[in-house]
């Protein structure tokens, strides 16, 4: 197939995807055009809804996105934070330990299969 990208496991034709997306976007845009376009722009309805009050101009920090993760995986993050001591010798030790573990796993896997 022309322009079919194959990775050995998966395959994808981006051109067909783009063409199909273009057709569907046109169709959706066509449907959207049947909807009401107008609204009263000069009145209060165009301000953001905040239960009748003026919306606060508070910046919401990006790290808030991960609040749920920090809370749910609290114990995991505590372990990780304790590991991160800031000492280079500790990081090198972890690196060597990971390499050794990886080699052990690969060796066992090679022996079994």
């Amino acid at each position: 197939m022309i322009y079919l990208l194959e990775t050995g496991a998966g395959f994808w034709n981006p051109l067909v995807w783009l063409l199909s997306l273009f057709i569907i976007v046109l169709l959706v845009y066509f449907v959207r055009c049947f909807g009401e376009k107008k609204y009263n722009s000069g009145i209060e309805q165009t301000t953001s809804f905040y239960s009748g009050n003026t919306p606060p101009n508070l910046p919401i920090k990006c790290n808030n996105i991960y609040w749920g993760f920090f809370k749910a995986l609290d114990k995991y993050y505590k372990v990780l934070m304790n590991i991160h001591t800031g000492l280079v010798s500790d990081y090198v030790s972890w690196f060597i330990l990971t390499i050794v573990l990886g080699l052990i796993v690969l060796t066992i896997g090679d022996l079994l299969w």
Partner: protein
Amino acid sequence: MVEILWFKILLIPIVAIFGVCLGLFYKGIDRILVARMQSRMGPPITQPYRDFKKLMVKDNIIPVNSVKWLFNLMPIIALSTTLIILLYIPLGGVGPILGGHGDLILVLYLLIFPALASILGGFSSGSPYAIIGAQREMIVLMSYEFPLAVISISIAWLISSLNPGLNAFSFSVIGNNVIWGLVGPMGFVGLILLFLTLLFIVQGELGRAPFDVSEADTEIAGGVLAEYSGRNLALFYLANVTKMVVIGSLIIALFLPWNISNFLNLTGVLAYTSDLLFFLIKLFFVIFIGSTLIKAAAARFKIDQVVSVYWIYAVLISLFGLFLVSFDVIL
């Protein structure tokens, strides 16, 4: 080859309209069933069609402090990217229209787009409620992706380990190698665990209770959709109901790909019709168990509970399912 491609392209609008109409129909059934389970009468089955019609004639209000082009574009992207997934999944006994042009991995990636569109739409609206809703939507999105990937890879690994020459991510290969027949008792239990986990992911994908933290009407007034109205909201509404069909069809393609015409030895038009009807029945049961029943029975989770359920419990169950399947195959 080129003629076939053009014929497939001509079929795209038909499949898109079919998907939307089917989604609205199942939404009607879903609302009635939820109402009956809560001892209410519920709306008529045509209510979703009326809701869409009503939204299309309502004012399309655009907030003054929104990023207007992004605010207007995201509903179109959400619906378009939902509809395009339908082209890569088998529907009603017929192979995917674009089956030879994309596989399961592509579908998994495409499933992210509608959620991303609603996140960007929420951020672009400039509303405090919508921004909080968009952040929550992002958490839910990141949470269910991991177990979903584990399930998909489990199925592909199972097929590829038993049939090394086949492309295990192709839907036609998955459809021809029904996974339940490839494993022994231990693998069967593993597949049931994977299937149940996938049913639980439906709620997160659809943003419905108990995973509806991103909209949460009683807390954040609709969240990502708080500022949307009129035709923009109508498109998001269509995207949501179509996604129900998409997820249901994906589950059927992975776990329940049987066609009834094979059992009844039917051929021709009769075979296509019976397979389509059988597909619609399977879709109903998948949506009923995976969405309607859980929605009616469960209260909304807190945000950290959503992460715990998906990242800890769903991942552990799906990994255990994968372990049972792999152990079964190796033995």
